[in-house]
Symmetry: C2
Subunit: 562 residues, 2 copies
Amino acid sequence: MPHLAAHDIMHMFIALAVLLGAAKLAGELMQKLDQPSVLGEIMAGILLGPTLLGHFKPELYAFIFPSTGNLPIALETVTTLGVVFFLLIAGLEIDLRSIFRQGKSALLVSFFGVIIPFAFGFGAAGLFPRFLGAAPGADRLIFALFVGTALSISALPVIAKILMDLNLLRSEMGTVVMSSAMFDDLVGWILFSMILGMMSGGGTSMAGVKRTIVLVLAFVVLALTIVRWLIDKLLPHIQAHTSWPGGVLGFIFTLTLAAAAFAEYAGIHAVFGAFIIGIAVGESTHLRKRTSELIHGIVTNVFAPFFFASIGLRTNFVANFNLPITATVIGVACVGKLLGAGMGARLGGMDRRTSWGVGLAMNARGAMEMILGLLALQLGLIRETMFVALVIMALFTSLVSAPAIKFLIGRRRKITLKDTVNAKLFFPALKSQSKEQVLHEMCIAAANAVSNSPERFLRLVQERERVTTSGWENGLAVPHARVNGLLEPLVVVGRVAQGIDFDARDGKLARLIILILTGDNQSQHDLLLDAGELFSRKEAVEQALHAETFVELMAALNAPVH
Amino acid sequence: MPHLAAHDIMHMFIALAVLLGAAKLAGELMQKLDQPSVLGEIMAGILLGPTLLGHFKPELYAFIFPSTGNLPIALETVTTLGVVFFLLIAGLEIDLRSIFRQGKSALLVSFFGVIIPFAFGFGAAGLFPRFLGAAPGADRLIFALFVGTALSISALPVIAKILMDLNLLRSEMGTVVMSSAMFDDLVGWILFSMILGMMSGGGTSMAGVKRTIVLVLAFVVLALTIVRWLIDKLLPHIQAHTSWPGGVLGFIFTLTLAAAAFAEYAGIHAVFGAFIIGIAVGESTHLRKRTSELIHGIVTNVFAPFFFASIGLRTNFVANFNLPITATVIGVACVGKLLGAGMGARLGGMDRRTSWGVGLAMNARGAMEMILGLLALQLGLIRETMFVALVIMALFTSLVSAPAIKFLIGRRRKITLKDTVNAKLFFPALKSQSKEQVLHEMCIAAANAVSNSPERFLRLVQERERVTTSGWENGLAVPHARVNGLLEPLVVVGRVAQGIDFDARDGKLARLIILILTGDNQSQHDLLLDAGELFSRKEAVEQALHAETFVELMAALNAPVH
C-alpha cells in the first residue's frame, strides 16, 4: 500500500505552512485596503507560484512544492477539501425563498443577466474557439458552453460586500441584485455540471447529453426537496440530542462529503454536490446562526486559503498572459452582463440609472469563475492562456464594480443613528467609573456583537481619542473609530448616571456616550453629523438621558431637529 | 505531475464521509454513556476496518478504502493533519508554570510516575523482545526504550475528565495529578522523539544518539524560551491588528505546520513539533480563552475524528489479538504506574489512601499511547500484536480508572450551591412572565456559559419537569436536569419580582428560581439536598430574595442552617 514517507510529510508541512502563512498575511493586508481577503490569498499564490518564485528561484520553488513523489497528491487532497468546503458555505449563503419573494424584477434581472452574457460568451467561443484558448482537441460545443457559463455567473460574496460598503444592501436595488445573483449562481452551476457530465459521459452524443441533464436535474431536485426536508426534520433533533457544536458540525460536514462523493460518482464535480447540499442545509429554519457562522469561520480560515493560494501555483500568470484573449474575455463578460442585467432591471420597471447600477453590481465576478476555470484546465478543455484570462477577468470586474457604482449612483444614502442603534447595544446604566473603563466596556459589547477583538476596537478608539477629544457639549460624548473590515456601522449607546470626564469644551461631565465604529469614512462622517444635529440642544440630550427603554431611546432619536 | 483522477476524488470523499460520519455518531453515543467521545471514534474505526467490515464484507471494504491508486495517500494526508493538529491542542492544555507551582509532591509523583513504569517496560522489553512483539530486525535497545516510554505517558484529557467527574479536580490530589500528568506528557514525548531520531539517524551508534539528543533538546529549549517569548510578544499585536479570528488562527496554524515541518526535518516526528508549539502558544497570557476554545472545536470536530477513526483501519484487532502480550502489557503498565506515582505521592507526604488514588488517576492512558504505537508500527519497530496490545491497554486503563478511584476514595466530597453559583449566572431581575419563558431564559444563559445548545438544556429540564414539579415551598423553585457530557455543575439563580406559578404544593408563586444542571446524578443529588436544607425556612428564601448583588447572594447561601 503506498504511503507517505518521512520526507513527503516534511514537504507537505513546508508547503502547507508557506501557503497558509502567505495567504493569511496577504489576505489581512487586502482587508486593510478594504478589499476582500480572498484577493490577497490568490495573489499570495501567484507570488509563490511559477509566475514569481518559480521563475526567479526555481530551486527554492522546487523544494517547497516538489512536483514528484507524493507531495502533489497530498497538496491536492488539501486544496480539494478546501474548495469543496468553500462551495458548502457558498451554498449556505443562498436563500431560495428570497429569490422568489422579490418577484418580477429579480426574475427578469436573473434571466437576462444569465442569458445575455451566456449568449455572448457562447457565440464568441463558438466562432473563435482557437483564438479564445480552447485546448487542442477540445469539443467545440462543450468549449462554447463552458465560456458562456463562465461569463454568466456573478460573485455573490463580492457583490454583497460592495452593496454593504455603499449602504445599498437593503435598498430595492440591493435586494434585487442579491436575489438575482443567487439565482445566477444556481443556474450557472447547474449548467457547468452538465458540461462536466457531457465531458465525462461520452461527449455530445444525444444519449450522453440526455443522461447528464437527467442526472444533474434529478440530483438538484432531490437535494432541494426530499433531502432538504429531511435535513430540516433532523436538525432540531441533532441540536437537541448531541453535544454542540460537535454533533451538528459532524452532521453537516459528513453530508457535504457524501454529496461530494455522489456528485463525482454521477460524473459531475464534487464541488457541485457540496454547493447544492449547502443550499439545502441553509434553507432549514432550524440551522442556528452560530452554527453557520462557525462553519463559515472554519472554512474561510483553515480550509479555503489553501485552495485560493493554490490557484496561483497552477501556471505562470506572466508567461501565459495573452492580451487579446484577456481583453476579449473582459469585454464580452462586461458588455454581456451590463446589457443583460441592466435590460432585465429596465423591463422590471426600474429607472435607467438604477438599472445601470444593477448591471454594474451583477458584473462583479469572483471565486466561482476561477474554480470553473481551474476544473476546465484540469480536464483539458481550455489552455492556460484562457485560464489566466478568466482569473484576471474575475479580479478586474470585482475591483471595478464598487467605484463604478459609486460614480454612477453618486452620493450614497446618508446613514442615521436611528438606522444603526440596536436594543442589544443600548446600556441604560453603564457600571464603569472612568473614561478608560467606559470605552473598554463599550468596546467589549461592540466586539461581541460581531465576534471581533475588543482589544483591537479599544486601541483604534483610543488612537482616535488622542487626536481629538470626543467630549462634546451638554454632557454628550461621541468616541468613534474607523475599523477596517467592519461590514456595517456599530453604534453602542450607554448612559452613566454620575457622569464621566471626556474633556468637553464646556467642562461638563459626559452622561450620554455614543460609541460609533464604522468600516468606512463616509458612514462615520454621516453618523457624527447626525449625532451633532440631533444633540445640539441640551434638551435633546436630556430626553435621551431620560429614556429608560430602547423604545424611548428610539423616540428621542426620532425627535425633529429644531 | 501526479494528480488525483476523478475516481480518486470520489473514493476520497466516500472514505472521508464514512469515517467522519461513523466517528461522530459513535463519539456521540459514547458521550451519552458518559465516556470520552474519542473512545467511540476509535471503535468506529475498528468496526469499519479489517477487524469487522474488512473481514465480513471484503469487497465493500475494498470499495470504501481502496489500497491502490492515490487514495491511501489522500487519506494519510488528512489523518496526518488530524493527528498533528490534535497534538497542537494537547500542547495547548499543558501549563508549564502550574507544574512547578505544585512543588515537591508534583515533582516526586512526576518523577517516579515516569521512571518506574519506564524501568518496568524497558526491563520487560529488553529481556523478552520477541515475546512482547518486537518486529523482526528491530533494534533491541530501541525497542526496549520504546516500550518503556509507551508505558509511562499518562493521558491528560482522560485524567482531567475523571477528576472532574469525581469533583476532585480542584482538590490537592487533583492539582498534583494534573501537574504530574503534564510533566509526564512532556518527558514522554521528548523520550519518544529521541527514539525516533535514533531510528532515522543511524541507529544506536554513540554519534547518532548524541546528535538526536542534542537536536531534540535544542528544539525543546528554543521553542520554550525564545519562540515562546516571541509568540507572547506577537500575539497582542496580531489580535489588535488583524481580523478576529482569522488572523490569530492563521498565525497559530501556520506556526504549527512550520514546527511540524521542522520536526520532520530534524528526524523526529511532525507531531512532536506541533506538541511543543502548542505548549509555547498555550503559555502566552495573551492567548484569549475564546481563541483556544475555537481551535479546540475546529480540531476535535473536524480534524481529529479522521485520525482516531483511521487507527482501526490499520489492522485486524481480532486476528492480531494476543492474550499473553496484551495481559503482560496491561500488567506491567498498571503495576509500574501505580507503584511509581503512588510512591511519589507517599514520599511527597500524602496519606496512603490518597497516594493510591494518585496512582490510579495517573494510570489512565489514552490517545498518546495509540499515536506512539501507530508510529512505531509504521516504522517497523513493533509487530501488529504489540500495536493491538497497546491500544487495548490504553482503552482498558482509561475505562477502569474512574470506578477504581471511586471505590478507593469512597464517597466523594459533597458539592454545595456555594461552590457552583457564579456571578455571571445570577439574574436579580428576570424579564420573563411565564414558567416556560423563565426556563428558556435561564437555559439560554446556562448554555451560553458552556457553549452548548439551549434547546437541549430546555428539553431535558422540561422532560424532568413533567416527571415531578420543581415548585418547592416558600416561593422557591428548583428546576433541574441531568445533562450528559456536562463537565461541571451549572447553577443559574434568578429572581422574578411578580412571582411565577411553578405548581408548588403550598400554592405560592415562585420568586427565587434555581436552575441546576449537572453531568452526573451524584452532583444533582448533592445540590438538590443543599438547596432543600438552605431554603427550608421562609426567612432563608426572603434573605436570598433581598440580595441585590452577587456578594449578598453568596452571604445568603452561606447562612448557617437553623
